[in-house]
């Protein structure tokens, strides 16, 4: 077995970054003063990598020592991470008072001071500043984003730089990657909806570029286009929503809006109907970004990008943007603090969309054989959980059930954290699998003779990898457990809360909520099935392809992020639950405080509320017992003879083979399965609709553009050109004529003056 080559010396230039925060502290900065570095450093590194990469492309030192910009990108992200941690620390334990100054304005990028003399515009409207907004939700997502971006960048240096297909193109990847990260950091910290939107769009652009990174592949170019256009639909709605918000409040700054959401511009009372539409349109934007039904079609195709990109887009950042936007809607509906009442329907709609997406995505994930696509659908499904939770929270807030609302909101945000960590790791682990499969395959075929029929992402080619890739298998196991919600691990702590609160809303207050409640409960069981299926197909059983026997876990840079995230996934959820993170995230408490171990356990497993208890146990039963059990019956199995996995996962492999084997050959041939294979025909329906509506309209527009608009412009152009030629004839080049013209001009001036004054 090859030894992993470590390249840690390359990181020595980055060591000073560790001293950055202490240094700034010593020279008297507050953590908040340094916050702008989180965005500006990546923003500056983006062109740096691009330019240096363009100049020194193929240069040996640049390639080996700087990893084609990877080290620079990692440095920038390390700065962001350091300062984010500093702010986090300051917020929790520091002396800085955030409640007074959670909003800082760095600079005013446009003031309209100079544009007005007589017309006075109110102070808030006049200045469009750039500032930061820091509260618990910001901090949590900022931490998730900086931390994961850092790890994914680390991972990319292993994944991207050793892949011959990326030869001499990696600087482009790192530049886009850093810009993307910058967009996410900026979006989370923005202190106005306008800036949120600007960074949102930067991310949209980068995701387009990154998904289409292999732009010479037709499928990748198509996927990039699809992702861009689909999210664009959402963005248009979002923009209209922002217009309406501006119309209501006369500003898009959080400070102005959240100060008192019930009164709009000039103290007018806000019409709940108008606000409802504004928020609903914002939600459509979020639906597009977070790939929820019905704008979910782009996400599976986005798997065409390199794996770190999928990890980045799906787990760490972009899809969370939509959630963040919805989380920002709380002050509008929180009737406890000046919210606008009468917005219950918003919460119900969000919960419905969440429930439907969760169920649908889980269903489709049943039959996917591409390891990354399973993860993509799982992402969709888990995000839908969070949306459901947020919808329920908004509903509770609006009906003044403050305590329940806080739990639902906090649980949703907590789930965001757990899911991001677990899913980021799962994508990286799947990347590791794909990467090694690919290498093994190339190796087997004597370097060079590429067999294009072989798909390194197809799980039907895998199996039995548990013995070959111990770290990856362990990581993937913990990640899957967290997603499934195995008790005590990661996602369990948050998923319980979401499901319980949804059921509570359904049973005790609003019967309509029953539908999302049932859907997400069923999804919990289905999650147990498809995640177990994925793990078992990949790692358990006998190898289904020769390639597997040649797989080694040997690429540098890939292990460390996996290990770190495994630890966080395994114990992070429990640890944070001990600290009562749910109440912290919903702004109930300002500080994390330690709860008793037993208290937390009791709270989770034996809550006093009967509904919660029943729902909780049902969830555990479905997701932990029934789902994985069925998966094990279908896909479980012993490893090949003589092969042995390491202890932490071996038990699982052996356990999975105990349940006998069930042949599902017939089931997979059913019509329903076919429909799932085709993703429930959503793409086909959309394509059909587009070809019937938009394409003819586009043709009409093209005709109009060509004949009418272009015609007018051509006409204008030819008139302009001919008059230009005429007018240039006056410039004869003879000084005599010039003086004559001047004299004519002078006389005309006098005639004019005389005419006016006489």
């Amino acid at each position: 077995m090859d030894q992993v080559k470590h390249e840690y010396p390359l990181l020595y230039p980055l060591i000073p970054i560790l001293l950055l925060a202490p240094f700034l502290k010593i020279i008297g900065w507050d953590s908040v003063d340094a916050a702008f570095l989180i965005v500006t450093v990546p923003l500056l590194i983006f062109p740096t990598i691009l330019i240096i990469g363009q100049i020194f492309n193929k240069n040996k030192v640049w390639k080996n020592k700087w990893k084609e910009g990877g080290i620079l990108a990692l440095g920038a992200l390390a700065v962001s991470l350091t300062i984010a941690l500093w702010i986090l620390f300051d917020y929790l334990y520091g002396s800085y008072n955030f409640t007074d100054q959670s909003i800082l304005t760095w600079f005013e990028w446009i003031t309209f001071d100079f544009l007005q003399s007589d017309f006075t515009i109110s102070e808030e409207i006049r200045i469009i500043g750039v500032g930061i907004w820091i509260d618990q939700v910001t901090l949590m997502i900022l931490f998730v984003a900086t931390f994961l971006c850092f790890l994914i960048c680390w991972f990319s240096m292993g994944y991207m730089n050793t892949d011959p297909i990326n030869e001499d193109r990696n600087h482009r990847f790192y530049a886009e990657f850093v810009l993307f990260s910058m967009g996410m950091f900026g979006m989370v910290m923005a202190d106005s909806f306008l800036w949120l939107f600007i960074f949102w769009e930067i991310m949209g652009l980068c995701s387009y570029l990154l998904i289409g990174f292999y732009y010479w592949k037709v499928s990748a170019a198509y996927a990039a286009k699809k992702a861009f256009l689909t999210t664009r639909i959402g963005d248009v709605f979002l923009m209209v929503g922002l217009f309406i918000l501006y119309d209501i409040y006369g500003s898009l700054d959080f400070e102005v809006i959240f100060d008192d959401p019930s009164t709009g511009v000039a103290g007018a009372l806000v019409d709940s109907n108008q606000l409802f539409w504004a928020l609903l349109l914002l939600f459509v934007g979020a639906v597009g970004k977070s790939a929820q039904f019905p704008l979910h079609v782009w996400l599976p195709d986005a798997m065409e990008g390199p794996t770190p990109v999928s990890a980045l887009i799906h787990a760490a950042t972009m899809v969370n943007a939509g959630l963040y936007l919805v989380a920002r809607m709380v002050p509008f509906v929180d009737v406890h603090y000046n919210g606008v009442s009468g917005l219950e329907n918003l919460g119900i709609i969000i919960a419905f969309i969440g429930g439907i997406t969760a169920f649908m995505a889980a269903l489709i994930a049943f039959v996917q054989n591409d390891i990354k696509k399973v993860l993509a659908y799982s992402t969709m499904s888990q995000l839908a959980y969070i949306f459901t939770g947020l919808g329920v929270a908004l509903w509770f807030y609006n009906t003044d059930h403050h305590h329940a609302a806080m739990i639902a909101f906090g649980a949703s945000m907590f789930h965001l954290f757990n899911h991001a960590m677990a899913k980021g790791m799962l994508f990286m682990a799947s990347g590791s699998v794909i990467h090694e499969m690919h290498h093994a395959h190339d190796h087997m075929n004597n370097e060079g003779s590429h067999d294009h029929d072989f798909d390194p992402q197809d799980m039907r080619n895998m199996g039995g990898l548990a013995s070959k890739m111990p770290i990856t298998a362990t990581a993937m196991m913990f990640g899957s457990m967290s997603i499934i919600g195995v008790p005590l691990i990661g996602g369990f702590w948050s998923k319980e809360g979401i499901i319980a609160e949804t059921w509570k809303a359904a049973i005790e207050y609003e019967p309509l909520m029953l539908i999302p409640a049932i859907l997400i409960l069923a999804t919990a069981g289905m999650t147990g099935f498809y995640m177990s299926r994925m793990w078992l197909m990949t790692f358990a059983g006998e190898p289904k392809n020769d390639v597997v026997n040649h797989v080694h876990e040997s690429t540098p840079w890939i292990r460390e992020p996996l290990l770190i995230l495994t630890v966080i996934t395994a114990i992070g959820g429990f640890g944070l639950a001990l600290l009562d993170i749910i109440h912290f995230l919903s702004a109930d408490t300002d500080h994390l405080e330690m709860h008793g171990f037993l208290y937390t356990l009791e709270h989770a497993f034996l809550p006093s509320d009967m509904t919660t208890r029943i729902v909780g146990w049902t969830t555990i039963l479905l997701s932990f017992i029934i789902g994985p059990l069925i998966a094990a019956r279908v896909h479980g199995g012993k490893l090949q003879k003589g092969m042995k996995a390491i202890v932490p996962i071996n038990w699982l492999v052996i356990l999975s083979s105990k349940f006998g084997h069930q042949d599902v050959e017939n089931m997979s041939k059913s019509q329903f399965s076919e429909a799932l294979q085709n993703r429930l025909y959503f793409d086909d329906i959309y394509e059909y609709l587009i070809s019937k509506t938009i394409i003819p309209f586009a043709n009409l527009s093209a005709w109009f553009d060509r004949i009418i608009i272009d015609g007018i412009i051509k006409q204008v152009e030819s008139i302009s050109v001919s008059s230009s030629i005429q007018i240039r004839k006056i410039t004869t080049g003879s000084a005599r004529d010039y003086i004559l013209m001047a004299a004519v001009g002078m006389i005309s001036i006098f005639i004019l003056i005389w005419g006016v004054n006489a």
Binding site: I730, A735, Y738, G745
Partner: protein, 562 residues
């Protein structure tokens, strides 16, 4: 009357520096070992002037170095003066305030950049070779060229310093006579600079034409001044202003005199129909000089116009200035003419010349808006701010564009659009900078050209849009009742749209066409840095905190003018 000795000399430091620079440039190359023998004795004493040159001064680089040094010092001093908000009077003929400080800054920065560019366009060479009989014709002509370039270094930089001196003095003068004299000092020097390359037909012809038309304009202007003198008996601007405001009905003598001066200054700013010589002059002159004419010289004309129109003849709020209609019509004709003529220009220098005519039109529109008397004191200051801001940032992108042409000039490519073909492939930084300059000229956000245009249009619309009758039901009624000034804003917008065509064409040519020659551009390191600095500031002054700072300075300048 106070004499020069008891005024604070530090107010005139930039000018004094330039005078010292001129003297140094005259004396330095003439330092030599000449001796004079005291009659009737055998002792001879060195007089230092004449004879064989000392080795240390036998260096063709000296004039350019002195010039660059002088201009950078004056630039820094102007900056310090702005920072310190220096103000005061010199005698009764000069006044120093933020307005003049800002314009000193504009002029000195333009001259500094021009002299840096000239250093590359007309490079001095150490140890030139004398052509021999055995040389081929080509090498003879290169050698002669080098010799001539070395020979005329001094002349060029002295003239350049004269231009600077004239401009700075002009902006400070409060007396029409000094104003005229310093204007002529700058103008006459610039005529010579235009025709400086007399061995080329086009240069000599351009200089002569520019001189003839310019002298006619000057003659008209001085005739106007004499009429004003007859009318008032004093050419002090304040005194003129007092007499003007006490005048019941327009005195023909004053009206005609003022009108004639307007014609003279109209020539300086390149207003139609007095602009006709400018395209010829720009295309005949070397690129840095053309840039100087398009920025500093234009700014000088506008300073003069603002002084006589705003200080002397501006009526009180609510009444129309008598020259309003004339300026409105001139400005519309100027911008339209400039843009249309630029559309089909094949010579980038002519194109830029016409574009600067169009820009003069925009600024005249703003001036006409002030003359309409619709605005309050505050809104007038706002519009003046827009004009001065535009003049300030023109130094960056208009001059920057000419600098790019200077780079090409060495290869003889600056006279045709073909020279710009495929520039992006030969040198991407320069092409991108040029594109930034073009976009800024067109007024594309977030570049500074956009900000100035926005300020101008906003100022005009602010004071005029309210004049339409709001009660009228249809837009047509409103349109017919709105003040004519409003249509100036519309005309600026339409003209900007037309101008986009030829600005963007440069981008098209640079980025999408095959280059004429594939060899990379000459290094010219300082010129290149200057171009890049101009491009960066074009962006920085358009958006962000730096633009705020500049706007504040300009606003102060505008306040101290009125």
């Amino acid at each position: 009357m106070s004499s020069l000795s008891d005024i604070s000399i530090e107010l005139l430091i930039p000018e004094i520096m330039m005078i010292i620079g001129i003297l140094a440039m005259i004396i330095m190359p003439n330092l030599g070992d000449a001796k004079i023998r005291i009659p009737l004795t055998n002792t001879s004493i060195p007089v230092l002037i004449g004879g064989t040159r000392f080795n240390q001064v036998n260096n063709p680089y000296i004039p350019s170095i002195i010039a660059i040094f002088t201009f950078s010092l004056s630039f820094i001093v102007s900056l310090v003066m702005i920072q310190g908000e220096t103000n005061g009077n010199v005698g009764e003929i000069m006044e120093i305030n933020q307005f003049t400080n800002l314009f000193s800054l504009i002029f000195t920065s333009t001259l500094l950049i021009t002299s840096i560019a000239t250093f590359y366009v007309m490079p001095p060479r150490k140890d030139p070779k004398i052509p021999k009989n055995s040389d081929s014709i080509d090498s003879v002509s290169t050698k002669i060229n080098i010799l001539m370039n070395n020979r005329r270094q001094v002349d060029f930089y002295i003239l350049l310093s004269m231009v600077g001196l004239g401009m700075c003095l002009m902006s400070k003068s409060t007396h029409l006579f000094l104003l005229f004299v310093s204007l002529e000092l700058a103008s006459l020097s610039s005529y010579v600079l235009v025709g400086f390359y007399k061995e080329k037909d086009i240069g000599g012809e351009a200089g002569t034409k520019y001189f003839i038309v310019g002298s006619v304009a000057s003659a008209v202007g001085i005739y106007g001044m004499s009429l004003l003198y007859l009318w008032n008996g004093d050419l002090q601007i304040n005194s003129l202003s007092n007499s003007w405001s006490s005048m019941e009905i327009l005195d023909p003598m004053a009206g005609i005199g003022m009108g004639l001066m307007l014609v003279a200054f109209g020539f300086k700013v390149g207003a139609a129909p007095f602009h006709l010589a400018t395209p010829d002059a720009y295309s005949g002159a070397s690129s840095p000089i053309a840039g100087l004419l398009a920025t500093a010289s234009k700014a000088m004309g506008f300073v003069a116009i603002m002084k006589i129109l705003f200080i002397v003849t501006l009526p009180e709020e609510g009444t129309e200035a008598y020259w309003m209609i004339a300026i409105v019509i001139i400005s519309v004709i100027t911008m339209t003419w400039g843009n249309f003529a630029a559309l089909t220009s094949d010579n980038p220098k002519r194109m830029l010349a016409y574009s600067s005519v169009a820009h003069a039109g925009y600024m005249l529109a703003a001036i006409a808006a002030i003359g309409s008397g619709l605005g309050t004191q505050n809104s007038n200051i706002l519009i003046i701010t827009a004009v001065i801001f535009h003049l300030t940032i023109l130094v960056l992108f208009k001059l920057g564009a000419f600098l790019v042409l200077s780079l090409l000039e060495k290869e003889g490519l600056s006279h045709n659009m073909d020279g710009l073909k495929g520039l992006a492939r030969r040198d991407s930084t320069i092409a991108v900078s040029m594109f930034i300059f073009m976009l800024s000229l067109a007024g594309i956000p977030p570049l500074s050209g956009f900000l100035s245009k926005l300020l101008m249009i906003n100022g005009i619309v602010n004071i005029s849009a309210g004049t339409g009758s709001l009660s009228s039901a249809t837009i047509l009624n409103w349109a017919s009742s709105v003040n004519i000034i409003f249509w100036l804003a519309i005309s600026i917008v339409i003209n900007s749209a037309i101008s986009l065509f030829y600005y963007l064409r440069i981008g098209l040519i640079m980025f999408f066409e095959e280059p004429v020659s594939s060899k990379p551009l000459e290094k010219s390191i300082y010129l290149r840095i200057t171009i890049i600095i101009c491009a960066i500031f074009t962006i920085l002054f358009g958006i962000g905190p730096l633009s705020e700072i500049l706007l504040e300075i300009v606003n102060e300048a505008a306040q101290s003018l009125v």
